[in-house]
Each structure stands twice: as structure tokens, then as C-alpha cells.
């Protein structure tokens, strides 16, 4: 903070989060600058680091050089309606085209009926009809006259015609006919046969005449329609003369309009309401509509689209259906854009975790990236459930950058399990969890805090508020030398502190507001922590904080429950006896110990054998246990404590119970760092403080963990006042010395430990065990 002069964060220029993630920032800029296939980006980092907002801000601010932005529309494919055609238009031209087409249809709805109703059209139409009528009239007049001349008549029946004899100009009475002589009947029969044949011939000519008439009417209709349609289409062509890709479609519209002019003539005359209805689903004229699925501004930036719900439909688009007269129907107007359509020409940001949990979405995205075109896939068809009419929209070329973000394990899991992953996502943008703490990074964080407060419309922080926040930010890393970049946590804290400040009528967020917010956060989550401490204080969970005892030590562990961590002392005990050199890890025996804990215990065997059993066989049977532990035990951070308990038991030297121990040990007895050191110290301190600080109590921690100490102020004060101590240790001998108040002892030149030290007592006890086993074996004749 010394690097930055300010009174409040209002004085600071806000800074992007990505400034703190230099590695990721460079990777993203690199990925965005490479247009080659496959150079998509996977941004990995913890979810609390707010990757999406950082990505969105960076990508939005990046210049969009060389991006081919376009409006995309789907239009009817008149030849194959189930395969709608896609058209790319310059940005901002899609909606005007749609508007123009709708206007064209509305104009034609008015002009075509008027044209076909006009006197000019009707006169020509009547002429055609009259011509046909004349031809049929001539045919049947001649037939009728001929029939009458041979004494027969043609009579209509419900389904056709019959030829019947006439008697004195009237249809013959059947009774009269039956009395006619045979010769007359035969004459009539021949006349009937002749007229029947001619009637059949005449009737067969009717369809041909009808066809001729139909063709003549159609030609007239086309000519009439073309007059109006041609003017409208030509006008549209003029409007969009700079778009050659539209010409073919407009010509298809012209042909289809001419062919389907009856669609306009069947519409009732009406007002604007009826005209609007023309574009309703199911209306015959909707075939001429333009479905604008992507509309960009002509001077707008490259789109940056974040898809929060990356289902296959939301990504690739979908074809919707509506119920119409009891059936599910669809057409090109029901094609809905997906996020890939909207982001085409720009960037799409997708949560990898959500993507992978959506059925079929990940394989679909890979297919799109492989084909470099967006093909709308229907989920029902993929799973074989489709029973409705489907469309096959023409694919749309894909030109965009995909940025996935997610936890690191997702990146590594994909890289390991999916051979195609690296082919499509060649750029890793690895976000940091934390920053090295320095005056520069503190200054950066202060500006970041200012930006967070400003963006969230919170009070600015004053200098003390920033300092308190930075302490907390460091504490979040469990390392005094680091600053956390988990922005979500930081914003939560400032938000809560803002409320505290508001209640206290503070215009700025101060240190006390931050501390109150932290205390409140801990209090809300501390029910189990307090319950655990209460159990110890009531001696239901037995943890001694004074006195000494052989083979017993206070180990320290950390419990992390949904982000709330607290230290928890555990009593570790060891018992020894002569045996075959085996150390029994009771936790492992009952399957409560994890593999790392078991590893730690096995390391103890190696250490003891290596240090104490060089000359005699390991004749030790030992057992180690976390007393009153009924859950799983994992990790090796208790291995120093376990080793001390074991050596205490072997040496029969009591250990101090007012010291808590944490640290792992290797086979040479060197103490190694552990995690959660602050919580562990504070957990033991809380027990001691509740029982009364004696000045002798304290915690043994690995020396290498000292740099990470970020202890609570009350712990720091107690240490400063000499009421509590934090002891660093580099090896197990230092721990033994402190815990036993004796020297651990070092081997002298003859290889023996000096008498009166802990190690000498251990060696002596192991020798006794070996002798006892030897004697026992001799007595049993082995």
C-alpha cells in the first residue's frame, strides 16, 4: 500500500481483473489473435475467480479487426420447402429486407385482387369463357339436333347420361315402347347406338376443351399477376441491388408469386388487421416472409455472447413446432437462432461444466467446430423420438471464437479423456488463484477493490478499509505472502461491509466495517465450530491443555465445511510392546484412514527403523490412534504428532499437553509444511483461551509455515503478551525437546546417544524389546 497514495478507493483508477491474471490475459489475447482453426480458448480457474465477467469485459474491449459480421436470415426454399435456405446479408440489412418483403406482400394483397376484379381482366376472362362455351355449345347443339333427327334424346342422370327413344317428340312411355314392332325397335336400337357413340366422343372432347380453357385462363392470370408482381419485385431488386446473393431468391419469389396468385385472390378485402394476419403461422402467404435469425448493427462491435444454459438447442438453434388444427407443424419461420448464430463473427463464452452436463451439447459443439458450420440438430431426432415433420435448414458458415471456462479439473479431465479436445481448444488461459504479495500487488488489489465497489454501486473504501480487506484477502490464501484473486469472496465481504457501514452511517467502508463483516460471516457459519469447542471444554471430547502424559499428544487438524474452516485439536495416542516391527495404524485398520494418512504412518516405521534399529531387529509392536475420532482421517499433517507420541511411548517420557503439534515428517525426521496452519493455531488457542491462558501453552508448527502466518489479532496479542506461543520446528528432535523438556540427543562419535536424552531412552527400550523377543523365541525352541 505504500506504493499508492489515496484517501478512498474513489481516488483510484479502477483496474480490470485480468490485469492480475497476466498469464491468462496474454493467452486470451494470443488465442483471439490467431484465426486458424482450433485456436479456441479454455479459460481455467476457480469458480470464485469470476472468470465469465473478466472474460466478457476483456473480449468486449478487444478490437474486432477482420471480423466478418453479417445478418443471417432464413427464407423459404420454394423448390424444397423442408430445406429452408439461409442468406447472409451485411449487418443491419436483415430487418429492412424483412420489412420490405412484408410490405411487398401487403401491397400485392391490395393490388392483385383489385387487378383481377378489374373490368379489363374480367372482359378478357369472359372472352375466354365465352369461347369455351361457344365450342361446347356447338358440339352439343349439333348432337342434340342429330339425336332428335333420328328419334332419340339424350337425358341427364344423377351420374351421367342416357340416350332414350322419342315418341312424337316426347320421351317414350316404356309400355308403348314394348308394343313397338321388332323392326322399329331394332331401328331405334341402331339410332341409340349411333348417338351413344357420338355423345361419348363429344363428352370426351370436353376435358380437352376444359384444359385449353384452363391454360388460357392461367396464361391470362400469369400475365395479369406479372404486371403487379413484376413492379413490386423490381422495386425490391432496386432497393437491394448491392446484394447479388438476394437476386436468385427474389427471382424465385417472383416465379412463386405468379404461380400462386390465387393465394392473394382468395383473401377477403379488409383492413390493416387482416393484413397483419397474413404473417401468422399457417397463413398461406407466410411462405414469402423473411425469418431474421441474426440481426446486427451496421456499425456495431463484434458480438460477445455468453450462453448460460448451453443446451444443444440453445447453442445450435432449434426448429419449433406449433399445434395447428390438431397437428404439429413447422416451417422456415419457426427456425430459432442459437447462441452460435448470435455470436457468429465474434466470440461465444460457455461454461464448460454446464456444457458437459447438457446431453449431446458437447459432441454437438465439436461437430460444429469440425464442420465450421452451424447445422441445426433436433434432439428428438437424435434420440429417435421424432414423429413430426422436420426441417433441414441450410447450414450457416461458422466464423467465431469459442471460449470455454471452468475449473481446472475439467480442463485436465477433458484433455485426458477426450482426444478431440486439444484439437479444438489449443489455447489454455490459466487464471491464477493468488498473487504474490508486494507493494505493487497490494496497489493493484486496492484499485481492483475500488472497481468492484464502483461496479456494484457500493460505498468506496477508505485506506483502513482497504488495508483490512487486503489482510482478509491474504488470509483467504492461508499465506501471508499471497493475495487471493477469488473475487467472489472479496465482493461478498465488501458488500456485507457496505451494509455494516450503512447501519453505522459511515460514508466510507472502514476497517471496523470490514472486521465486523468478517466476524458476522464467521458467526453465521460457526455453529459446528462452537459445538466442537463446547464438547472439548465440557470434557466430552478429551483434549488436555496442561500437564504431561506418556504416549499422548495434541494433534491439530482443520475442518472445512462449505467454505468455513476451523482448527480442531485431536488427541493422538500411541502404545508400544515387543513385537514384529509393525506399527498398527488403527484408523487404517478400521478403514477410517485415507491413503495419505496411511502413508504418513508408514513413513514413521521407516524413520524409526532407520534411526533406532540399525544394530538390532525392530522388535516393536505399536499402535496409533486418533482418540474419539469417528469419521475419516486424511492427510499426513499429524505425522510429527504421531511420531512424538510413539517415541514418548517407547521412551516412557511424558509429553507436554499444553502444546499442540502439526506438521508432517519424512523418513529423515525433517518436518515438512502443512496446510491450514492459521486455523490450526487459532483452534488450539481458542481452547486454551477458554480454559485460561497460562503462558506455557502454544503450538508447534513447521518452520517453513511461519511465512504463511496470518493470525487473528487476539492470537497475535496473546503471543506478544507472552500468554501463548507459536514454536517453529525444523525436525522431529526439536519437537521432542520442546514436548519433553529434555534434549532429544544426537549420536556421538561411537554411534551412541548420550544417556539421559530422549533418543537414548528410545534405543534402550527397543533393545529391551529385541532381547525379550529373543528370549521368548529361545524358550519356544526357535
Amino acid at each position: 500500500m505504500s506504493k499508492l497514495a489515496f484517501q478512498t478507493t474513489r481516488d483510484l483508477v479502477p483496474v480490470s481483473l485480468l490485469t492480475a491474471h497476466r498469464r491468462a490475459d496474454e493467452a486470451i489475447r494470443f488465442g483471439m489473435g490467431v484465426s486458424a482453426r482450433g485456436f479456441n480458448i479454455f479459460a481455467s480457474g476457480p469458480s470464485m475467480a469470476r472468470l465469465p465477467s473478466a472474460l466478457r469485459r476483456l473480449l468486449t474491449e478487444m478490437p474486432s479487426e477482420g471480423k466478418a459480421l453479417a445478418d443471417w436470415v432464413y427464407v423459404n426454399n420454394f423448390a424444397e420447402p423442408h430445406r429452408p435456405a439461409s442468406l447472409a446479408l451485411p449487418p443491419g440489412r436483415g430487418v429492412p429486407l424483412q420489412r420490405s418483403m412484408r410490405k411487398l406482400i401487403e401491397d400485392l394483397r391490395a393490388t392483385l385482387p383489385a387487378l383481377f376484379e378489374s373490368e379489363d381482366y374480367q372482359r378478357r376472362r369472359s372472352a375466354i369463357d365465352e369461347s369455351f362455351r361457344g365450342k361446347t355449345q356447338a358440339v352439343f347443339e349439333a348432337l342434340s339436333k342429330k339425336a332428335a333427327s333420328v328419334g332419340v334424346a339424350i337425358v341427364r342422370t344423377p351420374m351421367g347420361f342416357t340416350v332414350t327413344p322419342l315418341d312424337k317428340g316426347e320421351i317414350v312411355d316404356p309400355d308403348v315402347f314394348s308394343k313397338w314392332p321388332v323392326a322399329k325397335k331394332e331401328e331405334v336400337r341402331q339410332a341409340i347406338a349411333k348417338i351413344e357413340a357420338e355423345m361419348e366422343q363429344s363428352l370426351q372432347a370436353i376435358p380437352r376443351l376444359q384444359k385449353e380453357r384452363g391454360e388460357a385462363v392461367r396464361a391470362l392470370d400469369n400475365e395479369t399477376a406479372n404486371f403487379a408482381i413484376g413492379q413490386e419485385i423490381d422495386e425490391l431488386r432496386r432497393l437491394f441491388s448491392d446484394l447479388p446473393q438476394l437476386i436468385e431468391y427474389l427471382e424465385a419469389v417472383r416465379a412463386d408469386l405468379t404461380q400462386h396468385v390465387q393465394l392473394f385472390l382468395a383473401q377477403p378485402e379488409g383492413g390493416s388487421q387482416e393484413r397483419l394476419d397474413a404473417m401468422q403461422l399457417g397463413h398461406p402467404l407466410e411462405r414469402y416472409d423473411i425469418n431474421v435469425i441474426v440481426s446486427n448493427k451496421s456499425d456495431g462491435p463484434s458480438p460477445v455472447v455468453e450462453e448460460l444454459n448451453p443446451t444443444i438447442g440453445n447453442l445450435l438453434g432449434r426448429v419449433e413446432h406449433v399445434s395447428f388444427q390438431g397437428a404439429l407443424i413447422t416451417n422456415f419461420r419457426m427456425i430459432k437462432a442459437g447462441a452460435l448464430h448470435r455470436a457468429n463473427g465474434g466470440t461465444i463464452i460457455i461454461d464448460a461444466g454446464s456444457l458437459l452436463t447438457e446431453p449431446f451439447a458437447w459432441p454437438a459443439l465439436k461437430r460444429v467446430l469440425t464442420r465450421q458450420e452451424i447445422v441445426i440438430e433436433d434432439l428428438a431426432h437424435i434420440v429417435g423420438f421424432a414423429s413430426t415433420a422436420m426441417l433441414e435448414p441450410q447450414p450457416i458458415p461458422l466464423r467465431l471464437k469459442v471460449v470455454l471456462f471452468g475449473e481446472r479439473w475439467i480442463y485436465y479431465a477433458l484433455a485426458r479423456l477426450d482426444p478431440e479436445f486439444r484439437k479444438h481448444f489449443k489455447v489454455l488461459a490459466d487464471f491464477e488463484d493468488e498473487l504474490d504479495r508486494s507493494p505493487e500487488s497490494e496497489a493493484l488489489m486496492a484499485r481492483l477493490l475500488g472497481g468492484i465497489a464502483k461496479d456494484a454501486d457500493l460505498r468506496p473504501l477508505n485506506r483502513s478499509g482497504v488495508e483490512a480487506t487486503l489482510e482478509r484477502v491474504a488470509r483467504l490464501t492461508d499465506d501471508a505472502a499471497k493475495l487471493s484473486l477469488l473475487v467472489e469472496h472479496i465482493q461478498d465481504l465488501i458488500t456485507e461491509a457496505d451494509r455494516v457501514a450503512a447501519e453505522a452511517n459511515h460514508e466510507l467502508i472502514r476497517r471496523e466495517d470490514i472486521e465486523s463483516a468478517i466476524a458476522a460471516q464467521r458467526h453465521r457459519a460457526a455453529r459446528l465450530e462452537e459445538h466442537s469447542r463446547d464438547m472439548i471444554l465440557r470434557n466430552l471430547a478429551m483434549i488436555a491443555s496442561d500437564g504431561t502424559r506418556i504416549g499422548q499428544v495434541n494433534g491439530l487438524s482443520v475442518i472445512d465445511l462449505a467454505g468455513h474452516s476451523f482448527g480442531h485439536p485431536s488427541r493422538i495416542t500411541a502404545r508400544v510392546a515387543p513385537g514384529g516391527g509393525k506399527i498398527v495404524d488403527i484408523e487404517r485398520e478400521v478403514e477410517l484412514g485415507g491413503p495419505l494418512h496411511s502413508k504418513g504412518v508408514l513413513i514413521l516405521s521407516g524413520f524409526i527403523a532407520g534411526r533406532y534399529a540399525q544394530d538390532v531387529p525392530m522388535s516393536l509392536q505399536a499402535s496409533l490412534v486418533f482418540e474419539q475420532s469417528y469419521g475419516g482421517v486424511e492427510g499426513d499433517s499429524a505425522s510429527v504428532a504421531e511420531l512424538c507420541a510413539l517415541l514418548s511411548a517407547l521412551a516412557s517420557i511424558p509429553l507436554r499437553q499444553d502444546i499442540g503439534v502439526t506438521g508432517s515428517v519424512n523418513q529423515h525426521g525433517d518436518v515438512q509444511p502443512i496446510g491450514g496452519v492459521n486455523e490450526k493455531i487459532e483452534g488450539f488457542f481458542d481452547i486454551c483461551a477458554a480454559r485460561g491462558l497460562t503462558g506455557r501453552q502454544g503450538v508447534l508448527i513447521p518452520d517453513s509455515n511461519v511465512q504463511q502466518l496470518m493470525l487473528r489479532q487476539d492470537v497475535v496479542r496473546a503471543c506478544a503478551d507472552g500468554k501463548f506461543s507459536v514454536y517453529p520446528m525444523r525436525n522431529v528432535d526439536e519437537a521432542l525437546s520442546l514436548l519433553t523438556n529434555m534434549k532429544a540427543g544426537e549420536r556421538n562419535s561411537d554411534g551412541h546417544y548420550p544417556p539421559g536424552c530422549v533418543n537414548a531412552a528410545v534405543v534402550e527400550r527397543l533393545a529391551k524389546f529385541a532381547a525379550a523377543r529373543k528370549a521368548l523365541a529361545a524358550s519356544q525352541g526357535r
Binding site: 385482387p113 369472359s126 342434340s144 341427364r156 351421367g160 312411355d173 316404356p174 314394348s178
Partner: protein, 244 residues
Amino acid sequence: MAGPLQYRRLVLETGERLPLHTLRMAGDLAGALGLNMVGVSSDDSNLLELTRVALLRELRLPGHDWQPLDAQRLLTERTLLTEQTKRLIAEEATARGVSCAFDDNNDSLSASDIAVFTRPFWDAQRFLIEAAWSSRVGCNSTGSAIVLVPSAPAQASRLVAAIAEAEEDDPATSIGMRLVSATGDDLVILRPPAPMSVANLIRLLEQRLRPRRERLVILPPGTEARQIAAELADRRNSSVLVPS
């Protein structure tokens, strides 16, 4: 609004095919004038009698196949056609909110009837002897008003032309006003040409209505109008109404 009309029934023949545009025109008139839609069936016993002449055959359409003239089949087909037409009339009456009735034994008309006929377009009815009601009654129905609907009417329009001497107290004007007030059509009242011929009427309509075209021409009552009604309907492709 015009005064009360004398018409009570709108009559259609059930034994013939009833084109949809004829049904709609009948429905428009029945709904507008508040008429009862009545289906009548003409006597076709003569046709059935002919089946007794053994040598007669029937050319059946549209397949153009010859079959013996069979009484039972003729009866069945006639019945089916009649039932279908009755159903269409009943549905139209329901849609128009008017009552509906059928009379299979009486096809006579009176002055309180408006009889609706479809003009044949190509078929040979006008030149062949037949028992059809439309041919038998048609324009010759002096007792009732008649409506002749063309076989292929001109493009649907919303214009009605009434040929009348006066704008009030004239049967054509009265019917026209009632019709357009119910349907929302436009009404144009034109003075009758002299003489009342088809050519003069067509000239009058072209001159006065252009560029629009009427869907219905209401002529003045009288024998003169009845004589030219069919030709006018055929040449204008418009419906023609002649009051009784």
C-alpha cells in the same frame, strides 16, 4: 331502411349438385333478408320409368364407362346426392342463423320464394332433354323471384348493383339495401337502360362500375328481365337476381 319484404323462403333444389359459391350466395341472401332456407326435391319418376326399357344404357361420368340403366342404382345415387345437398344447406342455414326445412314432395314456387339456380357452364343441360328442376323451372318461374348464379363467378368482390327506377320503394333497391347492410358490401343503384337488353346492361355496368366489378346484379321485376337474366349471368360471370 327499406320496408318489409314479401319473401319468406329461399329455395334450393336438393336433387342437383350444389356448388359452394351458389350455397354462399344463397346463404348471404337468406341471412341478409331473414329467409327460411328450404330444400325441395323435383320429381324424377320419368327417369326411373325409363329403366324398364331394356336396351338403354348409362354413360357414367367422369369415367365414361357404359352400364345398363339400373333403377336401384339411380335411386341410390339420387338419394345420396340429395342427402349431401341437404346437409350443406342445413350447415349454411346454421352458420347464417336462419331456419331450414326440406320438402321432398313439393317443388312448386310462390311469390314469397326466392329460387336459386346455378347456371351450367359447359355441360349439355341446355341442349339435352332432362328432368332437372333448374331447367324445368329456371327462368320460367314466373311466380317467384329467381337468382341465377354463374358456374364460375368473377373474382369475389364486395359490390352489388341494383338496376332500379327509384332509390326508394323499389324491389331491387329494397333487396340491395338489406343485403349490403348485412354483408358490408357496397351498393350502386343504376337507372335501367332503354331498351333493357343484355348488351345495354353490360355497357352500363362497365361504364359505371369500372374498374370494379359487381358480384350481384339485381334487376327490376318483370318478364323482360327474366328473359335476359340467364345471358347476363353467363356473360358477366355475376349472379343475377330478378324479384317477383
